[in-house]
Each structure stands twice: as C-alpha cells, then as structure tokens.
Symmetry: C2
Subunit: 619 residues, 2 copies
C-alpha cells in the first residue's frame, strides 16, 4: 500500500459515488456540527453583552433566545422548501441565482464562502482556546494545536464524505447526549424546586450593574446571540451528498439539527435564568457559561469532565461543516464558470480535492496570521450568514410566485426575508466597527474577481472552442533548431532525432569563453563528416558569444530571429535533457533544460514548438 493510499484511502470509481452518500445519522456530524456547536457560544455571546446589566440582565436572555429561536424556525422553514425545490444542492447560491439573477446568487455565495472560512478558523481556535485554558501548559503550542486539528479535519475530508461522517459521529453524539442530559436534569431540578434550584457547584456571583437597560444594548445582545444561527444553511448546500430518497433524507437531517439546536438554546437560556448564571469577563477567573451551567446542575465530577470535553471536541470539529459545504459551493460556482475549473473536479476519493485544499490553506493562513487566537474574527461572520439567509428567502418568495406555491409559504418566506434582513442590518450596524466592515469590503472584491473569471472563460471559450476543421494543406516540415553546449551522448540523441523529423537543422552553441575550440573539433569529426558521408544537407552551426555568461537569453533570441526569417514555417526547438534516476541527483546539474523550456514557453509564440529529447542515465 502506498503512502498516498494509506493517508487518503484507495481511489474510488466514479460509479462508487452512491456508496459514499450519507444517511441522516452520518449527515448530522457532517452538516450539523457548525449549527449545533454554536449552542456553546451563541448564548455566551449574548450574555457577555448583558454583563453590564448585572443580575438584572440575566432575565433578558430568555426573551432574546426566544426571538432567536423564532428566527431560526423561520429560516428552517425556508431552507426546508429550498431542499425540495433545489435537490441539486447549492442552497442560497442556487436559490438566489435562479430566482433573482446571477448577481444575487454570487452575492449570497460570496457571503457564505467568507463565512465558511471564518467559521472553520474560529471553530478550531475556540476549541483549542478552551483546551489551553484548561491545561495552561499547552499555551505556547496554541498555533501548533490549531494547525494539527486543521490537518486532521483536512485529511479526513480528503478521504471522502462517508468516512468524515463516521469519524465525527462519536464526539457529536457524546456532546448531544451529555449536554442534553445536563439540560434535562437541570430543568427537572428547577421545576421540582419551584423555579429556584440550588446549584451543586455555585456559579460566580454576578457583578453589580454598570449600565441601565437600553434598546441598543438589547439589540446588540440579540445580534451577538445570532451567531448561534450560522451553519443552518449547510444541509441545503450539500443535498447531493445524501442517500436516496435525497430530499427526504436531507430534510430529516435538517429537521433533526434544528430541533436539537432549538432545544439546546432554549434549555440553556432557561437554566441561565433559573441558576442566575451570567457570562464572566475574559482573563483570570473566566469560566464559560456551559461550564458554570454544567457544574451548577451536576457538580464538578467525571460527568462534568465528559460534558465539557465533548464541548471542546465539537467546537474544534465544527470546522468540519465548512469543509463539507465550502468545496460543494465552490464546485457549483466553478461549474457556472465564476471560479477556476479545477474546483469543479472530483478527486480520487470523489471529493472536491481543490476546494478542500483551498479552504484548508485559507484557514491555515488566518490561524497563522492571528497566532491561533481568532476571537477578533467572531464579529465578522454573522454578516455573511444573514446576507445569505436574506437572499435565499427572497429567492424562495420569487420561486413560490413563479411555481404558484401556497400563499402561506410565500408569506412565511417573505416574512423570513424581512426578519433576517432586519437582523442583518442590526448585526452590520452593531458590529460594523468591530470588524463587520471587513466582510463588507471583501464581498465586492471577491465578486469582481468572480465576474472577471467568468468573462475570461467566456472569451477563452469563444476563442478556442468550435475550432475549424484541421488544415492539412500545409504539411511542410518544421525548421529544427537545437542548442548544444558540448558533444555528448545527450546532445547526440537530440540531433539524431532532429534528422528524423526534418532536413533543415540549425545547431546553436553559446560560447561563454571556455570549451568552444574543443566543441568545434568534435562537431567537425562527429557530425559534419558523418553528414557528408550520408549525403544529407549539412546542419548549420551558429556560434553565439555571450560576454555576460547568459545562456538561455541568447538561445531564445536566436530562435525568435529564426522564426522571423522563416515566415509561415513552424520552428521546432529541440532541447536534449539529461534525466537522472534519482531526484536528488538533479541538484548536481544546472537545470538549464528546464529553464530553457520555461523561457521558450514564456517568450515564444504559436509557431514555436518545444521538443524535449530526454536521455536517461544508467547511474
């Protein structure tokens, strides 16, 4: 078994595509990790803004969470319809593109692509951050840990979707099981104690209020809490990854994910109020909301460890949803010609290798740039998600009108579009200064790039496709020219080939001062004498002096000169090349053949052809 097979698994036949498809249970870890893991940071983000209100602020978490869950359900309803209407996948991109035009589609796609890159980086660094704060010894290795997890996720994804589902299933269900148990127990205790349960381990006392309630503050808390909604569109982007019946499987997966997320969010909000748990300021003494909550309900025992451990795992692996969706989205865009075609090609394991690699590289760049601590990126990514939600739902309104869908559906989608658009505005305004502006600058830049890629492809296609029939009228042999530095078996092989394709052979020798005489004597003995005996046209020898010791430049110039002197003829440049058996032996030579090939391709034109005659050493 080769190293590649070991790392990435054996290649899969195109016909094996069906066996790679996912059921709902494997679909949740693949497409749901992002959404579900946001239960770990959404409520926390909202509560952080409520710190200023002191104990009184905790009460607001319940109405805020209810608003978020209502918004979540509206969006869910919309994507449920999207899955049915567009079983070929692509979610917001397809819906907006097909109903509102390519501009809207690309806008949604760009927003989502940025969102996925950020989500992957933030997810990994959040998981590692939590781990590092639990085991401070690991602090100096933060970046390395982030990159190791990124590498793991990348490798698993390159192995294919089915394997990804299996690998991430255990942490996902451990997370759902343990956190679900904590919430169920907590609610039980709260209800039994008449709404005022006694915590097993008391959460830190809440600080005194430093501000009065204001609409602005509540809006900001709501906007922050909305990060909990990112990842909801994931299933609709990747419908094609599901098992037959595709639409039903995808819908069942989406319903499960949303139900679980809603339960988690509401449960956490209720328990925060019941146990009077608030966010803590970052720095020493910081404790995450989920950690306080779990400790309050079950105490600091083994079960606490398991729960918090599974939260860390799920946070780090939430990047996986981006890895499932980003390549699929890129593929659809590339198929439409707005991104480079390699992104649309399936690799050896039937996954979109280039998309996965691109995401991994962008994510690694972000992690390295921020040293593995990406807190500052969090404000950036809700903008992308809500832009996509809005466009997607607006698209569904249009789709509903065209297909004559029930009025209620159209109304709900329109209501959803307005709701998410409003949220988008709130998020954009409240988070503009802290980073959302970066997203707003990036989106138009990326869109300009995508439109110019499409324009380039269009022009190229109209130039090269629909080629005329082959022209067999002019079959004149090309003029052959070959550089020769010395008379060796390598150059002899090249020259012998030259005489097989043509009679008109030019040889060019670049003289840098040494060896010219020796070469000339060889030339006369080994070539001219033979050519005379064979009675064939004598190859023309051209000696070029090179006072600056450049070799490649003079050869290229001579070839261009020869081309100008022979209008209508093709010029074949023969480049003999020594090929070593072992790659490291290539360091022993000056790689002039490689550079010459590159220079000729760069400076040449359609009439100049490069013939590479290799000579393999016996060594």
């Amino acid at each position: 078994m080769s190293v590649i097979d070991f790392l990435f698994g054996r290649p899969l036949r195109s016909s094996e595509e069906r066996t790679e498809r996912l059921g709902a249970s494997a679909g949740i870890p693949v497409f749901g990790l992002d959404a579900l893991s946001s239960a770990a940071y959404g409520p926390e983000a909202a509560l952080t803004l409520l710190i200023a209100l002191g104990a009184a602020g905790i009460a607001y978490i319940v109405p805020i969470t209810i608003s978020i869950v209502i918004l979540l359900l509206i969006v869910y309803f919309s994507y449920r319809q999207t899955i049915e209407a567009y079983p070929q996948g692509g979610g917001s991109y397809t819906v907006a593109g097909q109903n509102l035009g390519p501009f809207a589609g690309l806008l949604a796609a760009t927003a989502l692509m940025i969102d996925y890159v950020l989500t992957a980086a933030v997810g990994i660094s959040a998981g590692v951050g939590a781990l590092v704060s639990a085991v401070p010894k690991l602090q100096p290795h933060t970046l390395m840990l982030c990159l190791a997890i990124l590498l793991l996720i990348t490798l698993v994804n390159l192995r294919g979707s089915r394997e990804t589902g299996f690998v991430f299933m255990i942490p996902t269900y451990l997370f759902l099981g343990s956190l679900g148990t904590v919430i169920a127990m907590g609610i039980g205790k709260a209800v039994l104690s008449g709404g005022h349960p006694t915590p097993v381990a008391s959460p830190p006392t809440l600080p005194a209020a430093t501000a009065a309630v204001s609409t602005w503050l509540v809006l900001k808390a709501f906007a922050s809490g909305c990060t909990a909604m990112t990842g909801v569109e994931a299933v609709s982007n990747g419908v094609t990854a599901f098992r037959e019946p595709v639409v039903q499987t995808a819908r069942r997966t989406l319903t499960t994910i949303i139900t679980l997320l809603a339960i988690l969010l509401l449960g956490i909000a209720y328990l925060c109020r019941a146990y009077q748990i608030g966010a803590t300021e970052p720095g020493p003494g910081y404790q995450s909301v989920l950690s306080q909550l779990t400790a309050a309900v079950v105490g600091r025992n083994v079960f606490y460890m398991i729960t918090i451990g599974s939260v860390l795992l799920v946070l780090s692996f939430s990047a996986n949803t981006a890895f499932a969706d980003f390549p699929r989205l890129c593929r659809l865009i590339a198929q439409d010609g707005y991104l480079p075609v390699p992104l649309a090609e399936r690799g050896r394991r039937l996954v979109y290798t280039w998309g996965i690699t691109t995401l991994a590289l962008l994510c690694a760049a972000l992690l390295i740039l921020f040293g593995g601590v990406t807190d500052r990126l969090i404000p950036l990514f809700a903008v992308g998600a809500f832009l996509a939600f809005t466009l997607s739902q607006a698209g569904m309104v249009e789709h509903g009108r065209r297909t004559g869908a029930p009025r209620l559906h159209i109304f709900l989608n329109a209501f959803g579009a307005v709701a998410t658009a409003t949220t988008l505005v709130i998020v954009a305004i409240t988070k503009f200064a802290s980073g959302a502006w970066i997203t707003m600058v990036l989106i138009p830049l990326i869109m300009v790039m995508m439109f110019s890629i499409r324009r380039h492809y269009d022009r190229l296609r109209s130039e090269i496709s629909n080629a005329a029939p082959i022209d067999l009228g002019d079959r004149t042999a090309p003029v052959v020219v070959m550089p020769m530095m010395a008379w060796t078996t390598v150059s002899r092989a090249g020259l012998e080939f030259a005489f097989k394709i043509c009679w008109e052979v030019y040889v060019v020798h670049v003289s840098t001062g040494e060896g010219e005489k020796e070469f000339l004597s060889h030339w006369q003995k080994e070539v001219e004498v033979q050519a005379r005996q064979a009675g064939i046209r004598m190859p023309q020898l051209k000696i070029l002096k090179s006072p600056y010791r450049f070799v490649i430049g003079p050869i290229v110039d001579y070839v261009l000169e020869l081309e100008a002197r022979n209008p209508g003829r093709q010029i074949a440049v023969i480049i003999p090349e020594l090929v070593e058996k072992h790659w490291y032996h290539n360091f022993l030579h000056n790689q002039r053949a490689t550079w010459l090939k590159a220079a000729l391709l760069l400076k040449g034109n359609r009439r100049i052809v490069i013939i590479n005659v290799p000579w393999y050493t016996d060594q």
Copy 2:
C-alpha cells in the same frame, strides 16, 4: 530599470572581472572583518574562564594572549607563503589537497565550510544580541533583526565584491579607529600612572576566587581565547579577488589584518590587567569586556557610544568574511567535481551566486533553529579553523620540501603545524562535550557526500562524454501520439504539427464519462473527413475509459504500450498546451499539460520524446 537590476545591479561582462578586483583597503573589510571582530570576543572568552580565579585570574590574560599572538604569527607566516605558492586561491584546501592528497584537502575544506557557516550565524547573532541587550525593547524581534542583517549581507554580496568592500569599509575603519584610540589612550594613561591608572568609570569589582589555578583551567582559557584566530585563513582562500600584482596585494592585506589584530589583542590584554577588568557572568549586570574597558579609559560619553556602536556593527558584519570565502571555496571544490557544478558558475555580477545563496540559506536555517541566539554554537567553530590551519601548514612543509624552500621556512611551517595541531587537540578535548563533537560528526558525513558526488560525476562523464559520431543510418520518422480531450484550436494546432513531422499519428482520448460523444462527432467531421480528402493515412483514434477519473496515468501507460509495440522506433508524444498571457490566469486551468510532461519524463525512456505545442491565447 528592472527590480532585479535595482537590487543586484546591472549584469557585468566577464571581461569586467578586473574592475571588480580589490585593493588592500577594500580587502580588509571583505576578508578581515571576521579576524578583526574576534578581538571583541576572543579575550572575553578567555577571561570568562578566568572568572573562577577572581582578581588573581586577570594576571593570566597577558601570558595567554601572548601565546595566542605567537600562534597567530606562526599561522600568518605560513599563510603568507601559501599566498605566494598558490596565487589561484583556495588556501588550506589547495595547499593540503595538492601536497597531502585530495583526502586532506577535502578534510580542510569541510572543516572550513562548517566554520564559515557557524561564523556567519554567530557573528550576526552576537551583534544583534549586543544591540538587544542595549535596547531591551527590541528583544522580541531578535530573530527578525538577525534575518534582516543576513538579508542585507546577502544582497550586498550578490552585487559583487567591489561593492561589498565599499559598504563595509566605514564600519570597519570606524571600529579600528575608535578602538585603537581607546587602547592608545589607555596605554598612555597606564604608563604615565606607573602601571596603575585610575579608571574614568570604574569596572565592576571582581568576584572572589572560587577555584585554585590549575593547568586544565589555563588550557581551557587558552582554547577559548583561540576563537580570536578564526578568519586568519580568509585572505589565502580568496587571493584571486585581489588587484594586480595579486600576490603582493593579498600579502599586504593579510599583513595589515594580522598586525591590527595582534595590536588589538595585546592592547586589550594589557589594559585588562592594568585596569583590573574581568569578564562578568551572563544575566543581569552583564557588561562586555570591551564596554568596561572603554568606559574605564574614556568614561561613558559620546565617544564610548561610538566605539561600542562600531563594535556591534563589526560583529554583525563579520559574517561578511564567510560570504567572501565560502562561495570561493565551494567554487574550487565544485571545479574539482566534489560539489554540484552550479556552485562553480559565476552569476550576473561575477560572483558565485549559488555559493552565496547556499551559505545564506544554511545560515538562516541555523538562526531560525536557534531563534537568533547562537551562543551555544560558539564552541563548535574553533575546531574547524584549527583543523584547517594544521593541514594547511603540514601541506606547506611538504610543498617546501618538494620545491627546495629554505630550511627555516620548512621548520617554521612544521613548528606551526605541531603548534596548531596541539591547540586543535586542546580545543577538541576541552570543548568536546559542549559541542565540538557535532563538528566531528559532521565532517565525515560531509566528506562522504563530497566523495560520492565526485563518483557520480565521474561515472556520468564516462557515460555521456566522448560520445560516438552521430548515427544517420536510421532516419525513420517517429511514431506520433497525441492526447486529445476535446476538439479545440489548441488540439488542432497540435494535430496539424503532428502531420508535419510524420504520417503515422495516434490520438488518444481519455473518457471520464462526459463529453465523449460530442468529441467523437467533432473528430469525424473536423479530422477524418479532412484526412480522407487530403488522401493521407487516417490518424488512429484510441478511446480509453477511466473509471477513476485519472487522466495522466492512462495516457502514460498507453504511450509505454505503443513504445513496446514499435521496437526500434522513436515515440513522439505531442502535448498541446494553452499558454495564458498573464501568469495568474494559469490558476484557472488544471495544468494537465505540465503534469503530463513531468509524468512522461519520469516514467519514460530514451525512445520517448515529448513535443510541446503551445497555443497562446489572444486574451
């Protein structure tokens, strides 16, 4: 002016070599910085070992320094003769190689090469270390500062030797002038005060003795002080860099450097005793010997600043000597076939570009590995220098015997060889555990590599040179095969060229499931019909199914099969290639042509020739 011209200067003609040569005044900064800067750390290294003796230890610095200076003069005498005997340069490598055999020559060369890499890294990091301890704010940027200085030195050296001389002249003469003044003033004050001058700024009191004097301790101090001698061989390695009369100029340069170094060393030693200045322990309160000495003589004023500043500059730039010598040494070894030939080629500015680049990379690797703090490397590098000294002097003994040199010369060289060999043993033993063993392990490894490179070149030369006369008996046209994925102007250009060189054309289409039918219909209309009309032999179309979506593998296999079916014939594989006008447009395509070329070169054989037919877009 292009960026390259701006950074590296315009290319120089080979005939301009003479104008690049150095006089003695420019030769000192180029070849003497390493030797002269060691005045800044040699005495300090010896004094550090004498700390244990307390105030009583200071007295030993004078006899130790005198011994070192005597050794220095012996070595100087030997290298003076070497310059005359071997004006082609190469110093120890040439002397040992030509008189004691290639093994001894390569041993000396390897020792020096290691020495140069270490010297460059240690010099830069010592300078930056001193700067950082003066301006603690810069501490976090230590590595970046080291790499920036390395980059500066590398760029200056790539511009050529003359410019290097100019750039480093100011800091060198500033250093000599200011430190010379300090020493002269100090000696004057000491003599006037009857040997007990009063310091302007008092040096820290010396600690109490913690050990008694022992031969071992004095030997260790002597061995440490010997680091002051590294760099003495530099001039003899680079004789060819000097102006005519070459030997006289080089000798004058060497004499000046050694005289200055001896004065500095003796002056520093005398003043240390007179002012009772010892080394201080590293850590807070650390003050270098030169800093104490300057402060004691002139006080902490502007002149003190200038002197200490010039010491820092000269330390960082001492790496420059390695940059002058390492490439020249590599060039000589490469000319003898023990190192890759590119190291022997002169670049656009008549310097050995590859040698400079190699040294810069090795040095950067060391700096990065040690985070810019290379104190631990200091023990490693005296071993290399003394090994080279010993072999060089032993070679001069043999040379003297062969050429009938005066007895006194032979005796002095023999005495020098014994003296440096003894020192080598002392250095190796006293510093074995602290790192000298690494050098001893590296030397044999590098030598094995050099001998195997030479063996490879020898075998290759006997295989490819003295090639037989060209064989024009078999001029049968090659079999032409061309992969075609679709009918485009690109593939049409390739196929048209195919018919210009041969009648027997095979076309191979790899079918990954899509587009096969469309391709077939094009093939019949645009190719087969035309070929029939033109009355030429029909090109053979081969369709290969590729269930795993691999394209390159099946094509290579088919070419190899075709080659097996046509024994004695050459197989020409035509690879049409779309060439974009802008390099960044290459990201828009899957680069299959490039990969196919690489795969064919890798798996092919002497009978398979690669023809690259480029199609340049109009875009």
